[in-house]
Symmetry: C2
Subunit: 465 residues, 2 copies
């Protein structure tokens, strides 16, 4: 099923590209208007800026706004550059306040202020209010659009309020408040259908009503949803007043975000790395995780050198001992670098984000990041090796330099091999029907270790003796 979905997407992409090439705008307009905004968003993520411009020109405003909201952050950053200011303003004002607030939080402070000035004051006040909550809190993920009725209203009055609201959103409950605006509980929509029109709303309140506070962490919100099988939950401020509601679809996104975050953190990379298209940025994010690893394995090398002295083996070749002392560094750094790459690929495959579409893009990007990481680690590792040799007072300067060079080259090669495996194995595993996550497990990382140690020792032997 997931493969056939990807196939459908591929067909749509080819069809769109064909129409773009032939310049048949009206056919393109027709094709796009028949699609779901989420499908177009995925296409927009894949095409280049010229094609994006043409696609946005061919969509009507509500569709363009939805697509802008649904693309990933990196693509949206590029769309901000691509779209004219007036265009962006008109798209943002098309969106619900919560979606608008999410998008505005990605703009620079200057652009944001400009945009907020250009839209209606009530709307801009609502957006500002939403932006004041932390992104990871209930306030940050809630939707302020809801229907509340006083406790002494009748079912008929509640229904006419829903009718009057005429909002293009779904409701699953109406919320009941007392005269001072304090929240009392919720009434399921189904009760409005099945109870007499004259019934008092106050009597239909669910005695088990669950609510969250505006400051509740989004991870906690997810746990409350899954523990209580919720579809929607009201959000209250500290005065027990209703400020919004969170629906389960948003919580599914939160669950995915939080899971990806844990996975990335354990693999030593950052979801942040995907929000930015720059390869340098991604390499920097990964290096901040590999640096402690370099230092740690440097300490291990020192530990091993310390024991070399304790074993009282005077006539042991220093080159050989130093080479061995750095084996853990080679194994750990190349293992982690490979793990970082496969974590990105595995979680991309799981969320369907990377499924079979323009793999070449992913490959080019990952290989360039790997090159930067391998170069940096090779350099830093070489320096660490040089320092260690210096403290041990290796007389033969040429020999020491050759060892350092061998070490840097070996580190570079080992990382390149490990990241290449981390990149291709998840896809390969998936193709033959094995869970891609296994390719990031101990099984593959250990195989990786043997390979990188073999490369390292061969290069040391070749270059340093």
């Amino acid at each position: 099923m997931s493969l056939s979905m990807a196939d459908e997407q591929k067909q749509l992409l080819q069809e769109i590209e064909r129409l773009l090439e032939s310049g048949d705008t009206s056919a393109l307009r027709k094709l796009l208007s028949d699609q779901r905004s989420s499908d177009i968003a995925e296409i927009v993520e894949l095409v280049d800026n010229d094609e994006r411009r043409a696609i946005f020109d061919a969509m009507d405003k509500p569709m363009s706004a939805e697509v802008l909201e649904k693309v990933d952050e990196a693509t949206r950053a590029e769309l901000f550059e691509l779209l004219k200011d007036e265009e962006l303003i008109s798209l943002v004002s098309e969106l619900d306040p919560d979606d608008a607030a999410d998008i505005l939080s990605e703009l620079s402070e200057e652009e944001r202020a400009e945009l907020l000035e250009s839209i209606s004051p009530t709307e801009s006040a609502e957006i500002k209010e939403l932006m004041s909550y932390s992104e990871d809190s209930a306030g940050g993920i809630m939707d302020p659009v809801l229907i509340s009725v006083p406790e002494d209203a009748t079912v008929a009055e509640a229904v006419s309020k829903i009718r009057a609201a005429e909002i293009d959103e779904d409701f699953y409950s109406v919320y009941v408040v007392n005269k001072t605006g304090r929240f009392l509980g919720d009434v399921r929509l189904r009760f409005l259908l099945t109870r007499p029109e004259s019934a008092k709303i106050g009597n239909l309140i669910d005695p088990d009503t669950i609510y969250v506070n505006v400051n509740t962490d989004q991870e906690e919100v997810r746990n409350i949803f899954s523990k209580n099988d919720l579809i929607v939950v009201p959000v209250l401020d500290k005065n027990h007043k209703l400020v919004g509601r969170i629906t389960a679809d948003r919580v599914i996104e939160v669950a995915e975000e939080e899971a990806a975050e844990d996975l990335y953190t354990m693999a030593g990379t950052d979801p942040d790395e995907l929000d930015n298209v720059s390869v340098f940025h991604a390499a920097r994010v990964r290096m901040t995780w590999l640096l402690p690893c370099l230092i740690g394995t440097g300490v291990t090398a020192l530990v091993l050198m310390f024991f070399h002295d304790r074993f009282h083996i005077d006539n042991l070749s220093l080159i050989y001992t130093v080479a061995l002392a750095f084996v853990p560094m080679i194994a750990a750094i190349s293992g982690n670098a490979g793990l970082q790459t496969s974590a990105i690929v595995v979680s991309g495959l799981a969320t369907g984000h990377l499924v079979a579409l323009k793999l070449s893009q992913v490959f080019t990007r990952e290989v360039r990041i790997a090159l930067l990481v391998a170069l940096s680690c090779g350099l830093l590792g070489g320096i660490a090796c040089a320092i260690l040799l210096h403290t041990k007072g290796l007389e033969d300067g040429i020999k020491a330099m050759r060892l350092v060079f061998a070490f840097g080259t070996a580190m570079f090669s080992a990382i390149m091999v490990a990241t290449t495996l981390g990149l291709f194995l998840p896809f390969l595993f998936r193709r033959v029907g094995i869970d891609p996550a296994i390719s990031s497990g101990p099984l593959v990382t250990t195989a990786n270790d043997s390979i990188s140690v073999a490369i390292y020792m061969s290069l040391t032997l070749l270059l340093a003796t």
Copy 2:
């Protein structure tokens, strides 16, 4: 917020234990009837079997059934032993067919057949039907309870059908079918409230209706939900007939399951390990992941020994070289064993499952698993070391045995230290406000490496020379 929730849980647990001790059954009955079934389920997971028995005696049947459905699989397995057969049958028949099917799939074939015979034939047919679908498919997670109306029905007729159904579940859409039972699309509940009573249902069908197939994988279902911001989706069989619906609350659970699975697989353990209370079972699951790691690092040791010969260092102490050759094994095995432990703890903390409740239980369990794993690895590592020494023809048998013993002991100690760190660091990090997931990242695993290598080399020096 999450801490205060845990505090509430703790208070409830203390209150229940106090009432159990004093034998005040009516007060206990009153207290339990005021709680949410999800809260009681968490308490039931924590108390011993005698207390469980007393709690189930004090709850009414609907509440007992809900609690049985909400506890984790390991606890449920113990409840199956604890509850009398008639009791189990009456609780299962209290549940919705989808929940009943989930629970039945955990029973032995014999017990299942017995239970299915004891309930009403229609109910048992429905449950059997549900159990025929794969657990990870849309059919396996769907709820067969839904409301469908023919396309020529009016809004008033649809509403009276909902009223007549009188099901204790929430609906967000009604589904429209044609005369032959083929699915046509869905109508949101809100339209039934806001459109004239005489309007034809067929005209209110959402043109963008999304559905899934009964065989669609649950991961794909989750992706469809998050891509299209869904709350509920209908499930069709291969003849395009309605067979059920999946609601977002179930998908949130799926998202958590799938994320935990990826995390566990990457850390080299298995969500399966938590479904069974046996420590031996858990140790076996982890060993199946550590074994390839042992073999892989054994290959690395061979590689390093191979290079020892290539470097032509005849007078190098064989003890020292062999000791160094096993450094990657020590580092990798203890690192992975620590990672397995912390993956369990980190994901337990994230889902709120482990939050501050009876930590001593978790500790005792994890320490016992660690002991088993460390003993097995120590033994296997020692054997590998003995074989390698044998092939190298170390003349001094006593020396070789001492090295093997040193190696086994060192491996055991290093794993114990690593798992202890993997167990405590996530809690410690959480307490001081750092993301617990970081403690499973490269940062800590590398620190772990240095510590275990230092322990290993010290023991080798102490015992083998």
